[in-house]
Structures are given as C-alpha cells and as structure tokens.
C-alpha cells in the first residue's frame, strides 16, 4: 500500500516514514505543500498524512486542492495547535481524521488502519473470508486458526486485493501500490508473490482465493460474511 507523508519537519517526517516502511507501507515523502500537490495529483496513494502547517501551500489548501481534482484517498491531518478551528477547517477541506501533535506513532498507526478500513468499507479490524481471517490492524493472516507466515510484500499484495475484493486488479496497479518508483516493472515478481500467496492461503488448492483474469490481472474472489 502506498502512503504519502507531507511534513516539513525533516526529523518527524523521517520517523514517520521509517515507522510505516517497517509496517510494510510504500512510503513517499514531501517536505512542502507544492511538492505534495504535484505528487498527490500524479501518483495513486492509498492514504496521505498531512501536516497542516506547511510551507508554500498550507495543508488545508493542499487537501482542498486534491479533493477538487477528485483525489479521494483518505487523508489524516496532523495539527500542532490542536484547536477546533484548525481541526474543523481541515475536516471541512476534505480530511478524514486528525491527530494532534505531539503524538505516539502507534496512535497514528491506529488512525491509519481505521481510515483504511473505512476506505475499504469495513467497520471491523478483522475480516473473515471462509477459513481465512485477516487482522488488518495486527497485519496477521490465519487459516483455520493457524497463523500464516507472510512477508511484508505478500501481506501487502493480499491486503490490496482484499481491499478491492471482487474487482480485477492489473499488475500495473498492484505494482504502483506496492512498490516504490524505482521498482523494475518488467520483472515477474508480482507473479511470484501471487504464486506464493496462493500456496500459503490455499495449500490444498480447493479455495482458489485469488483468480487470474487472463490479460487483465487478478481478483480476490472470496467474500466476507454480509458482502
């Protein structure tokens, strides 16, 4: 999953980037509003963390601009002042949630997870897909109660497919959301991850959770109860 962090304080930006990279996110950084505006308009992100007090273009203007241009990814706002004027303005501009500085990284993580769940239309932190259960907060996948040993990339691939369950996701889209810009797009690493995931999720090959749509991409075919 691809995340954009917009924060002018270099140290804080670095801490956030390191933290979410370690959580398996593909993180891109912007130090000012103008750069972030460009990046948000050009690249597909799954979430953005935006500081309100930015140089060049303020956080509120940035979010409003994205929304005007139909960039609908969830936005978590960071505010140093913590007064309601700032919070309400941020939310009115199009942000989805806010965190007041100083914060614990775990708090940001929880909010990011909640926003992701909301974007995927889920209200629970866990999703059950037949015998497969995914804990989106803990990033843990179990099959019939047994924890599966997934790498970060494998988990991210699965999460993105589940996030868009029922839709055909092209390899290009998967690559864009799972890897940074330097990734070699011609490599067959996506096929490799999908192959490994299938083996781990469906060792007996009777569930077929990930279907290949020839010439188009992949589709997560299992449904959660109520879907």
């Amino acid at each position: 999953m691809r995340m954009l962090i917009v924060e002018d304080e270099a140290r804080l930006r670095l801490q956030l980037a390191r933290y979410f990279t370690a959580q398996g996110w593909v993180v891109e950084e912007a130090a000012d509003g103008r750069e972030a505006l460009y990046m948000g308009s050009e690249h597909p992100y799954d979430i953005a963390i935006v500081d309100l007090g930015l140089p060049e273009i303020s956080g509120i203007e940035l979010i409003a601009n994205w929304r005007e241009n139909k960039r609908e990814f969830p936005v978590l706002v960071l505010t140093a002042r913590g007064d309601w004027q700032d919070k309400v303005e941020g939310l009115e501009a199009g942000a989805d949630d806010y965190v007041t500085k100083p914060f614990h990284l775990e708090e940001i993580h929880a909010r990011v997870n909640a926003l992701q769940r909301r974007a995927a239309g889920r209200s629970q932190r866990c999703g059950d897909y037949g015998p497969i259960r995914i804990d989106f907060s803990a990033r843990v996948v179990t099959r019939a109660g047994e924890t599966l040993d997934l790498t970060n990339y494998e988990y991210n691939t699965l999460e993105y497919l589940v996030h868009r369950a029922g839709e055909v996701i092209s390899k290009t889209e998967l690559t864009e959301h799972l890897y940074d810009q330097d990734f070699d797009r011609d490599s067959n690493v996506i096929e490799v991850f999908i192959g490994r995931l299938r083996k781990k999720l469906d060792p007996d090959n009777d569930l077929k959770p990930i279907k290949t749509v020839r010439g188009a991409g992949y589709r997560f075919s299992l449904k959660a109860p109520g879907q």
Binding site: G82, W84, E92, D96, R118, S123
Partner: protein, 443 residues
C-alpha cells in the same frame, strides 16, 4: 483648508461661515426693501398733502390762479427741491411754482400720467419723486375744467435717510454675524471638549498612566466609551491570561524536567520514567496551548450558534464514522453567542468530542437563548457518564494543569476556563440518555 475639513470643529465653523452670510444677507435685503417702501409711503403722503394745500390755495376764474406767495415756502424758492405744476388735459402746463424755474417743464409735462378724475399717481422719475392728482374744477356758468396737480420732490433727502439706514443695518448685521461665529466657535470648543478629553484619556491609556476611561462622559459618547472599556478590559484579561499561561507552563514543566534530571540514567526503569514524564509534559503543553488560543473575547460580536454546531456535527460524524454515532441537534433559530466564534467552536468542540468519544451511539446537543437572554447549551451522551470523583476535580478552579489527567480532563478543563472567562458556568449532570450531561450557561 484640508486641516479645517479634517476636524469636526473646522467643518462646523466652515458650514456656519458659509450659511450665515446667506441668512443674514436675505434678512438684510428684506429689511432694506421694507424700509425703502416705508420711506416711499411717507413721501407719497407728504406730497399728497402738498397737492391738497395747493388745491386749497388755487382759484379758477377763466384762468387758473394761485397766490404769488404760497404757504409752503419751498415752492417760492427757486431750485428748493420741492416743485409744483398744474397742467390741463393736453399736458400743457398752466401754472408752475416759482421753485420750478430751473426745471425743464416741457420735457417733464410729456411724462405726466393720464389719469381719470380723482385718480392719484406716485412715481419715482430719475432723481425726483412725482405725485399727481387729477381733479375737475367747476367753473362759473356750469363748465368743468380738468386739471392735473403734480408735486415733485428731489429724492436726495430720502436717499440720504436710506443710506444712513443701510449703513446701520450693515453694521448690525455684520456685527451679529461675527458675534454668532465667535459664539459658535465657543460652543464648539465647549461641546467638543469631551472628545478632546477622550483623546487625552486614550493617550493616557497608551502611555500606561490610566487603565480605562472614566464614566464622566456625555450620554452620546457613553456607548463608545463603554465599548472601549469593554475592549480594554478583555484585552487586559487576554494579556493576563497569556502571562499566566506562560507562567503556568514554565512552572508546570519544571516538575517533570526535575524528575528526569534527578533520575539516574543507569536505572532499569529510566526509559519508562522519561516516557511518563514526557507524556505529562505533552499534556501540560496541550492544555496550556488550548487555553492560550481560546478566550480572545470579541464581546461585541453576535455569533449564531446553529451554524457552529452544524460544522462540528459534520466534522465529528466524519471522525467517528466507524463508531456510527448519531448527533442530534435541538437549537432554536434565534440562539446566539455573544463573543468570539473561535471560543464557541472550542467550547462546543471539546464537549461534543468528549460526548462522541465516551458516548455509545447517541449524542444530543441543545441550545437556546442568547442575545439579551442567558445562553443555555447542553451536550449529552449515552455513555457511562463522568465518575463523581472526577467531576469535582474538573470543576475545581485553579487546579494546576500538570495535575490533570488525559481524556476528559484537558478538553473539559479548557471548556470550564472558557465558560468562566465569559462569566458563565459549566455543570456536570446525568443525562436522560444515560451518560453525561454537560450544561453550559452564559449570561
């Protein structure tokens, strides 16, 4: 000129100086005309009297006869200024007084009026007043002879009298104008004295000699001085608040700093201790910062409550979307808050956020009154309510920021501070929904 127009006194004086000559000029013209008409009326009467005297002295026996020595001596003296002549229907002069020797009678007779019997005419001709009276003289044998008796007098004496009157009028009217302008200037000086005093008092406030404006201002200025005093007071309160915030912040941060400094980095729980103390410092900063940004007290503004609550409702529904909380509003349309919109946002934001956070599914916000009535606002939720022991701690004034707990504490403490800074109160009660009911009353 520009300086005069830029001052109130200058404007009023300029207006008076422009208008006064107009009024006095019109008055002068009217008085002059009235006086001239009265002089002419007196002249008419006098000349008519002369004509009647002449008629009394005249006799007609074949021809008109008048005595050589007339009763009015000026008729007998050549060029005396008073002349008489009698003419027939053909304007042929039949008799003229000895005084009229130097007059050009032929020219004069041509200009005599054509009158009916008994008709009179008074006219000013060049430098002469002329009065004519047409009579019919009954002669012996039953005949009637029409005769026109005309008396003329030079305008000189009347003109001289009018000149004296005009000079007097000019003197008095001019003097009155000057006197009025001087009086006007004195009235302005006296009338505008409160404004000069106000300027002086404001200078005193600027230089720190005084803290506010005195009450002894005229009624018309009291609205302004009261508003200025309110603004000054709120500004002073804001300064005190900022100073207290800084002082509180400095003092309350020293304690956790001291704890960290005095701890041994070699101790096993050093990391945890630093974590705890930085968390404490974070709470202190958050609390003081919220206190500092609130309470700007624009007391003269009337802020409609409903739009502010609706903004907060939309924002909080977004933030608590996962929880599926419903925020119900019961706000009267005319409900207003007298103060700064930012303060209202802060006050209700803290209360509504807490209600959404600690409520289960339902939050209710009610507001009524405001303006001249006290403003009453309640925020209720269906959560577990606020424990009794915490209620007292929250409502206790002057509680040190560093002793406050996270969660309910910081937001509500700021709400309490804000309500009190508007001379209002915040009370905690139990809601019919089952959770807490926070009731704010502002006078």
């Amino acid at each position: 000129m520009r300086i005069a127009v830029n001052s109130l006194a200058g404007r009023l004086l300029l207006a008076s100086a422009l208008l006064l000559p107009l009024f006095l000029g019109a008055t002068g013209l009217y008085l002059d005309r009235s006086h001239r008409l009265s002089i002419e009326a007196a002249e008419t009467e006098r000349l008519q009297l002369q004509v009647l005297t002449l008629l009394a002295e005249a006799e007609f026996d074949q021809t008109l006869w008048l005595p050589d020595e007339l009763l009015e001596r000026r008729f007998n003296q050549p060029n005396s200024g008073l002349y008489a002549l009698v003419s027939d229907v053909n304007k042929q002069v039949l008799w003229s007084s000895p005084s009229a020797l130097t007059l050009e009678l032929e020219n004069l007779s041509l200009k005599l009026p054509n009158l009916s019997v008994g008709e009179r005419d008074f006219v000013r001709r060049d430098s002469l007043f002329q009065f004519s009276y047409q009579v019919i003289w009954a002669v012996e044998g039953g005949g009637e002879v029409p005769l026109l008796f005309t008396v003329l007098e030079t305008v000189g004496p009347a003109q001289a009298q009018l000149g004296i009157y005009r000079r007097g009028l000019l003197f008095w009217l001019g003097g009155s104008a000057l006197l009025l302008i001087v009086c006007q200037a004195l009235i302005l000086f006296w009338g505008l004295r409160p404004l000069r005093k106000l300027a002086g008092d404001i200078t005193d406030i600027e230089s720190g000699v005084a803290e506010g404006l005195a009450d002894a201002y005229p009624q018309e200025l009291q609205a302004v001085t009261n508003s200025l005093n309110t603004l000054l007071q709120s500004e002073r309160k804001r300064r005190e608040r900022a100073r207290n915030t800084l002082s509180d912040l400095a003092h309350s941060l020293k304690t956790p700093l001291a704890v960290i400094r005095s701890a041994d980095p070699g101790e096993q729980d050093y990391g945890q201790l630093v974590q705890e103390q930085t968390q404490r410092m974070e709470q202190i900063v958050a609390y003081q910062l919220q206190r500092a940004v609130s309470g700007s007290h624009k007391l003269l503004q009337m802020v409609a409550v409903a739009p502010v609550v609706k903004r907060l409702q939309r924002s909080l529904l977004k933030v608590y979307a996962d929880k599926g909380v419903a925020i119900e509003l019961e706000i009267t349309a005319d409900c207003v808050f007298r103060g700064d919109e930012r303060d209202l946002l802060e006050l209700l934001g803290s209360l509504m956020d807490n209600a959404c956070k600690y409520g289960r599914r339902q939050v209710r916000v009610t507001a009524a009154g405001g303006g001249t009535q006290p403003l009453l606002m309640t925020v209720e939720d269906d959560g577990d309510g606020i424990p009794l022991q915490l209620r007292t701690a929250i409502l206790k004034r002057g509680t040190r920021a560093d002793s406050r707990q996270s969660g309910h504490g910081i937001g509500l403490a700021v709400a309490v501070d804000l309500a009190e800074s508007y001379l209002g109160s915040l009370q905690l009660a139990e809601s019919a929904l089952g959770g807490a009911c926070l009731r704010v009353e502002l006078p």
